[in-house]
Amino acid sequence: MKTKAPNKHVKTSLYFVWPLAILGLFLLLRALLQGGSGGGEVGQNLYNLHCMNCHQEDGKGVRGLVPPLAGADYLQTQRQELPCIIKYGLKGKIVVNGREFDHPMPPNLQLSEAQVYNIIRYIQNSWGNEMQAMSLAEVKAALRQCDPSAAK
């Protein structure tokens, strides 16, 4: 024979469950509506933290100072260089979409291989960019080539 006391306890806890459930549903819907882009939220957060100051939220860069990433031919032509550029920066003249740029890009030495990979994925799938995805193995191999501590 069971007593009725535990049942009463269950009933009062519903006061907390209901609002939480609704709120949870609401947040889930929000996340589903916003997280539609292919790059993933992790890549976007990393981009916002390490790249957005210069390349801007819309990936268009800043006039002749910072080259665009959105629709940039450079992402295709220098595909293999991307991991090293993101991690070790860039100096000297480059040409992007026919325009010359010559402002140094600072290194981001704190980034791990996985973080570089996530950033590339985000850039490759944002602002209308549709590029052949770079695999984590490709990123690792590229970074090994330009790692100054491993140079012989």
Partner: protein
Amino acid sequence: MNKHFVLAILSLVLGMLACQTKEQRQVKIKTQLPVLGFKDLNEQGDTLYHTIPDFAFMDQDSMLVTPATFEGKVYVADFFFTSCPTICPRMKAQMLRLYEHFKDEPRVAFLSHSIDPEYDQVPVLKAYAEKLEISASRWHLVTGDKTEIYSIAKSYFENAAEDPNEPGGFIHSGAFYLVDTQRRIRGYYNGVDPAEVDQLMADIQVLLHEDQSAQ
């Protein structure tokens, strides 16, 4: 059951409100702007406001920029350096929005002080201005005596300093300062926040209107 329903609706409404206030920050339409800084009284009992003291800096076209350069104009001032790896490009992108917005308004000018004047000599500023496609007649990038620049920064209440631990070697706030025709600071804004720069845009109009009615 009724109580559950009320609580559920309440949490939903609160949740939505919380999300909305974060995303929708609207520009406040003001009728007047405060005068910032310490105030004093002279012997006649008139209020003396904090003003930007005299200065003389060199811009990207090797022209000497002084308060006379901004006579009859309101201007937006900031502090930056060309080799800045962090927030400067973002500040410059926002300043460019203002620059374009007021391109047909000769009473609005821009003044960017380099806090690394030893490296940012005139040719470096010239190259930087060309990359930004800006004209020295409206937007002055200036260099000069280091002590004078850091001292003028203080008059804007700007916290600029050399700091070897920072990326690039310098710290500064990223703020935009709005200065009126009488060299008084009328507002400061986060120069990397588009919403605050929208507010600055609206506040510049208030100042322009103020000068018009004063004439």
